[in-house]
C-alpha cells in the first residue's frame, strides 16, 4: 500500500495471506509438470550435446550419457513423488476441512476450492511421474547416439 492510502483500512485486496495461499496452490498444482519439463529439456539437451561432441571429438564416452540420463530420471522421479505426496496431503486435509466446516459458506468455499486444486496437482503428479519414467527409461536399454 502506498502513502496516499494511509487513511484507509487495509482491504481484502492487500492480504499477504491470500498471496501465500495462491503461490502454495500454484506450486502444488504445477510442480509435477514443471519437474517433467525440466527433466525433459535437461536430458534432451544433454543427449543432443554429448552425441555431437562424441561424434566430432570423441571426448566423452557414451556410457556417461546413459548414466547421466538415468540419474537425472531418478532425481526427477523422487522430486515429483515428493510434490505429489504434498499435493495428496493438502487434498485430504482440505477436503476433510471443507466437510467439517459444512454450513459456513466462506470456509466451505476455501476448503472445497483448495481440495480441487490440490487434487488436480496430485493427479498431474502421478501422470508426470509416469511421463518422467517413460522418457528416461529407454536410456537403460538403447544405444544412446
Amino acid at each position: 500500500m502506498t502513502a496516499g492510502d494511509g487513511n484507509v483500512e487495509p482491504t481484502a485486496a492487500a492480504s499477504p495471506e491470500a498471496r501465500r495461499r495462491f503461490l502454495t496452490l500454484a506450486g502444488l498444482f504445477l510442480a509435477g509438470p514443471s519437474i517433467w519439463m525440466a527433466h525433459f529439456f535437461a536430458v534432451y539437451l544433454l543427449a543432443e550435446t554429448l552425441c555431437v561432441v562424441d561424434v566430432n571429438a570423441e571426448v566423452l564416452s557414451l556410457p556417461l550419457l546413459s548414466a547421466a540420463t538415468l540419474l537425472a530420471t531418478a532425481l526427477a522421479v523422487v522430486a515429483a513423488a515428493v510434490t505429489t505426496l504434498l499435493a495428496y496431503r493438502r487434498w485430504r486435509r482440505t477436503a476433510s476441512a471443507s466437510y467439517v466446516a459444512d454450513g459456513d459458506r466462506s470456509s466451505e468455499t476455501e476448503g472445497e476450492h483448495d481440495a480441487e486444486i490440490a487434487l488436480a496437482g496430485f493427479l498431474l503428479g502421478i501422470l508426470f511421474i509416469v511421463a518422467i519414467l517413460f522418457v528416461g527409461m529407454p536410456a537403460a536399454a538403447l544405444d544412446p547416439c
Partner: protein, 856 residues
C-alpha cells in the same frame, strides 16, 4: 462438490425455463451507452468492445477458411481423383498445398478460437470487458493485415510453394528465389504477433477479471482450456517468430543461419519451426475440448463428470505438447536416445487425451441426450477425434512412423484430428452460442442435414487416405501413376469432398436464414448452466449492470438468483451498477478466492491500435519490397502509435472520490487505470521477452555445437573489455530505476525525475559503448553463422534495451507533467521491472557472445 444431477434449485439442467436471469436496473441504458463503441466508419476503426472484436475475429477466420481451407482442397482433390491427371500443373499444386496448410494453421483456427474467447469470456466469467480492449483490437488488425499481406501474393503471382513448414534450404534464396517465400514469412509473421497479443489479453482476463466468488475451481471449462491455450501460444509462437526472423534475415540480409557451408544448420529451422508446430496442434485442440466440455453437459442435462480430471488433462496436454516436436523429425537422423525421448512423450500424451474422452463418455452415459445439432456435432467430434487420436498413437512409435512418414496415412491422421477434433467443436460452439449473440436460433433441420453431410463426407474423404497411405502413396505429389492400387481410394476421397461442400454451404445458408428469419431465442434457450445465459440475447454492450455473485460451478442450475450472496458483496455489486456512470469501471478479483481486489477503468475506444497495426504491417511490407526506409517509417509509426495508445488520460474522478468508494466498500478504485492489470501485463511482456531470448540462446548453442571451430578460422576472439563497462553501466541504470520508484512513493517528484534521468543516461552510455565495441569487431553479420548470431543476438539485446529507453523517456515526460503520484505510479514501477529484465538480457546475452567463445 457433487457431480450428480441437482435435485433442488431453480434451474433443472437442460430445461429452458426457470433458470435465473439478471436484474435490470434503471441504469442499464446509461451503462450500455458508456460501454458502446462510437458509431460510423471512424467509430468502427476505433472500436474495442469485446463483442465487436470477437465477432470480427470469428468472421475473418471463416473468411480465410472458405478461401484457403475449402477452395484449395476442392481443387487438389479434383486433381488427385484420377491418376496422371493434368488438371493442375505441378507448380500450382505445390502452391495449393502450401497455401492450404499455411492458411488453416495460421489464419483460420487461431483467430476463430481467440474470437470465441474474446467474445464469450466476459459473459462466461461475469465481467464487463477484457482487460486490454485496445490490445484485442490490435490483435484483430494484425491478424487481418497479416492475412491480407500473405494473401496478396496471389495478386502478384508470387504464391509461396515450399510447404506450410517452409523447410530450409528449400526456403532459402538459392532454391526459392523471388519474393514468394517472403510473403509467407512476413505476412504470417504479422499474424503471429496478433496471436501473441490476444493470448496476453486472454490470460489476464481469465486470471484477474471474474465475478466475485468465481474461484479457480468454479471456472467454466472453456475458460480453463483457453487459459492453458493462451500460455501455450506465448511459449510456442515466440520461438516461431524468432525462427521466421532468422529465415528472413537469411533471405533479405544474407546472414548464414541455415547455410551449412557457412556454419549454419538446416535442422535448426526444423527445431524452431516444430517447437511451435507441434504445440500449435494442441493450441487448436484445447479450446475445442473446452467447447465440448461446455456444450455436452447442457444437452445431456447432467453436470460434467470429472471436472478436476479435465482441468488436469488440459494442463497435462499443455506441458506435454512441448516435448513432442521432434516426432515430426524422426526421419532426419537424430540420435536414438533423443528419438526415444520424443516417442515417449508422444505416447504419454495419450493418457490425458484418454482421460478427457472418458470424462465426456461418462457425462454422456449418465445423461439424457437432447438430440439437436450442437449435440450431434459433439458426438461426431467424439467419433472422429478418437480415430485420429489412435492413429496418432501409432505414428508416435518410431518404427511405424518411419514407414508412414510423408505418406497419406499422415494426411488422414491430421485431418481426422483437426476436422474431427477442432472443426466439429467449432460448429457445435456456433450452434450453441449463436442465439446468445443474435437473439435468434439457427434452424435445426438445416443444421442436422448439414451435420450428416459433413460427418459422412469427412469420413468418406479421409478414411481411404489411411489405406492409400499404407499402400505407399506419398504426400504432396501432384499426381501418381496408375496400376498401384491407389485409384479407387483416391476416387472415393474426392467423392467425399462433394458431401463436405454442400454441408458447409447449408451451414452458411442457415446462418443467413437465421439472421433474417430465425426463431427468437430467449435469454437461455438451452437451459444452460453458465453465466452467459443469464443476460439478454443479444446482450447489452457492457454485459453486466449488476455483476453476478457466484457460489457454484453451475450458477444457473444451482443458484436461486444471479447476484445474491454475502450482504457486503451484494452492496458492492449494486453500487457498481449505480456508480460510476461516467466511466467504464470493471472489477479485478484475487486469483485464488475471487474476492474483489480492485475497481479500475478499462481503456476506451481508440484509433491507436489500428495505427500501430498499420505501422507494424508497414515494416513487414517494406521488408518484402526491400524498402528499408519504409521499414524505418513503419517503426516510427509503431512507436508513435504505442505512445498515443498508452498516453495517460486524465482520470475521470480525483483521488478523494476513489478513496470515498474504497472506504465504503473496502475495494480500492483506480480510475486512472489498473495497477494489477498493468503489473500482470508487464509480467507477461517480460515472459515474452524471456522466451524470445531463450530461443536466441538455444540458436547460439545449437550453432556452436554444429561447428568444430568457434569462432571460425580467420575471426579473432572478441574483446570483452568495453562490454564489461557497458554491463556495469546498464546495472547502474536498473538501480536508478528502482530509486525512481522509491522517490515517487515518497512523493518526491524532483527525486523521481533525477533518478529517471540518471537511468536514461546510464542506459544510453551502455548502448554507446556497446556500439563502439561492435564497430571494432572486424567481422560482419554475413560472414559466417558465427557473425550472424553475434549480430542478431546482439541486435535483440539492443532492441530490448531500446524499448526500455523509450519507456523510460515516456515515464520521465509524465514525471514532468506530474502525472505520477504516490498513489498512481504504476508506470514508474513497470518501467523499473522492464529495465531489470532488459538489463538481465543485456548482461547474459553479451556475456554469451563475448565470453562464450573462451569457455567452449
Amino acid at each position: 462438490m457433487s457431480d450428480d444431477e441437482p435435485e433442488e434449485g431453480p434451474g433443472r439442467p437442460g430445461s429452458p425455463r426457470a433458470t435465473p436471469s439478471v436484474e435490470r436496473p434503471s441504469t442499464d441504458e446509461e451503462l450500455a451507452s458508456e460501454w458502446a463503441d462510437p458509431p460510423g466508419l471512424w467509430g468502427r476503426l476505433r472500436a474495442v468492445q469485446n463483442d465487436a472484436i470477437g465477432q470480427r475475429l470469428l468472421l475473418t477466420g471463416f473468411f480465410f477458411l472458405i478461401l484457403g481451407g475449402s477452395l484449395d482442397s476442392v481443387a487438389m482433390r479434383l486433381q488427385l481423383a484420377r491418376p496422371e491427371s493434368d488438371l493442375l500443373s505441378p507448380q500450382l499444386f505445390n502452391e495449393l498445398f502450401t497455401n492450404h496448410g499455411s492458411v488453416t494453421m495460421f489464419l483460420v483456427i487461431l483467430p476463430i478460437f481467440e474470437g470465441f474467447a474474446i467474445l464469450l469470456l466476459p459473459f462466461l466469467l461475469g465481467t464487463r470487458e477484457m482487460p486490454f480492449p485496445r490490445l484485442g483490437a490490435f490483435a484483430y488488425y494484425t491478424f487481418l493485415f497479416g492475412g491480407l499481406l500473405y494473401y496478396s501474393s496471389t495478386l502478384f503471382q508470387l504464391v509461396p510453394d515450399a510447404g506450410w513448414f517452409a523447410y530450409a534450404p528449400l526456403s532459402s534464396n538459392e532454391f526459392s528465389p523471388g519474393l514468394a517465400l517472403d510473403f509467407w514469412v512476413l505476412g504470417l509473421g504479422v499474424a503471429e504477433v496478433g496471436a501473441i497479443a490476444a493470448a496476453g489479453e486472454i490470460i489476464i482476463g481469465i486470471l484477474k477479471m471474474r465475478a466475485p466468488g468465481m474461484t479457480l475451481s468454479r471456472l467454466p471449462l472453456f475458460a480453463w482450456a483457453m487459459l492453458v491455450t493462451a500460455f501455450m501460444i506465448l511459449f510456442a509462437f515466440t520461438p516461431l517468430i524468432v525462427g521466421s526472423l532468422l529465415l528472413e534475415l537469411d533471405r533479405g540480409f544474407h546472414t548464414q543461419f541455415f547455410n551449412v557451408e557457412q556454419g549454419g544448420s538446416v535442422l535448426l529451422w526444423q527445431h524452431l519451426f516444430w517447437i511451435f508446430g507441434h504445440p500449435e496442434v494442441y493450441i487448436q485442440f484445447l479450446p475445442a475440448a473446452g467447447i465440448v466440455s461446455m456444450v455436452l453437459p447442457v444437452f445431456v442435462r447432467r453436470k460434467i463428470a470429472g471436472y478436476t480430471w479435465l482441468v488436469g488433462a488440459f494442463v497435462a496436454i499443455g506441458f506435454l505438447s512441448f516435448g513432442l516436436w521432434a516426432h515430426h523429425m524422426f526421419a532426419v537422423g537424430l540420435p536414438p536416445l533423443v528419438l526415444s525421448f520424443f516417442a515417449a512423450a508422444s505416447l504419454v500424451i495419450g493418457i490425458p487425451a484418454g482421460v478427457q474422452i472418458f470424462a465426456w463418455l461418462a457425462t454422456l452415459w449418465s445423461g439424457k441426450p437432447v438430440w439437436n445439432t450442437a449435440f450431434l456435432f459433439v458426438l461426431g467430434f467424439l467419433v472422429i477425434f478418437v480415430i485420429g487420436g489412435i492413429t496418432g498413437i501409432m505414428v508416435a512409435a518410431v518404427p511405424f512412423d518411419l514407414q508412414a512418414h510423408d505418406t497419406y496415412f499422415i494426411v488422414a491422421h491430421l485431418h481426422y484430428v483437426l476436422i474431427g477434433g477442432v472443426g466439429f467443436p467449432i460448429f457445435a460452439g456456433i450452434y450453441y452460442w449463436w442465439p446468445k449473440y443474435t437473439g435468434r436460433l439457427l434452424d435445426e433441420r438445416l443444421g442436422k442435414l448439414s451435420f450428416w453431410l459433413l460427418f459422412i463426407g469427412v469420413n468418406v474423404t479421409f478414411f481411404p487416405m489411411h489405406i492409400v497411405g499404407l499402400l505407399g502413396m506419398p504426400r504432396r505429389v501432384y499426381t501418381y501413376p496408375s496400376g498401384l492400387g491407389w485409384e479407387i481410394w483416391n476416387m472415393i476421397s474426392t467423392a467425399g469432398v462433394f458431401l463436405i461442400v454442400p454441408g458447409i454451404l447449408l451451414f452458411i445458408v442457415n446462418i443467413i436464414y437465421s439472421k433474417r428469419r430465425g426463431a427468437p431465442a430467449g435469454a437461455n434457450p438451452w437451459g444452460g448452466d453458465t453465466l452467459e445465459w443469464a443476460v439478454a440475447s443479444p446482450p447489452l454492450d457492457h454485459g453486466w449492470s449488476v455483476l453476478p455473485i457466484v457460489h457454484s460451478r453451475h450458477p444457473l442450475w444451482d443458484q436461486p438468483a444471479v447476484s445474491e450472496g454475502d450482504a457486503k458483496l451484494e452492496r458492492f455489486v449494486e453500487a457498481l451498477a449505480q456508480w460510476p456512470l461516467r466511466w467504464r469501471a470493471a472489477l479485478i478479483v484475487r486469483t485464488t478466492d475471487a474476492l474483489p481486489e480492485e475497481v479500475f477503468r478499462v481503456a476506451g475506444p481508440s484509433v491507436w491500435p489500428f495505427v500501430t497495426a498499420i505501422g507494424l504491417v508497414t515494416i513487414f511490407a517494406a521488408e518484402l519490397l526491400k524498402l528499408r526506409l519504409g521499414a524505418l517509417a513503419g517503426a516510427l509509426v509503431v512507436v508513435a502509435g504505442a505512445i498515443g495508445w498508452n498516453w495517460p488520460e486524465r482520470p475521470p474522478i480525483d483521488e478523494e472520490e476513489e478513496l470515498a468508494f474504497e472506504r465504503e466498500h473496502g475495494v480500492p478504485v483506480r480510475a486512472g487505470g489498473s495497477d494489477v492489470v498493468a503489473q500482470w501485463g508487464m509480467g507477461l511482456s517480460i515472459l515474452f521477452v524471456a522466451i524470445a531470448f531463450a530461443s536466441f540462446l538455444l540458436t547460439y548453442f545449437y550453432l556452436r555445437l554444429e561447428n568444430d571451430v568457434w569462432p571460425p578460422a580467420g575471426i579473432a576472439l572478441p574483446d570483452a573489455r568495453l562490454f564489461a563497462v557497458s554491463a556495469a553501466l546498464a546495472i547502474a541504470g536498473v538501480v536508478a530505476a528502482y530509486v525512481a520508484v522509491r522517490r515517487i512513493r515518497l512523493g518526491d517528484h524532483r527525486g523521481l525525475r533525477l533518478s529517471l534521468g540518471g537511468m536514461l543516461a546510464f542506459g544510453s552510455a551502455a548502448m554507446a559503448l556497446q556500439i563502439i565495441s561492435y564497430s571494432r569487431l572486424g567481422f560482419g553479420g554475413t560472414d559466417h553463422a558465427y557473425g550472424s548470431i553475434f549480430f542478431t543476438l546482439g541486435g535483440f539485446c539492443f532492441g530490448v534495451l531500446g524499448v526500455a529507453l523509450i519507456m523510460g523517456a515516456m515515464t520521465l515526460v509524465w514525471g514532468f507533467r506530474h502525472a505520477l503520484t504516490p498513489r498512481r505510479h504504476v508506470t514508474a514501477s513497470n518501467t523499473a521491472r522492464f529495465w531489470a529484465a532488459a538489463v538481465t538480457v543485456w548482461v547474459i546475452g553479451f556475456s554469451t557472445l563475448y565470453l562464450g567463445p573462451y569457455l567452449t
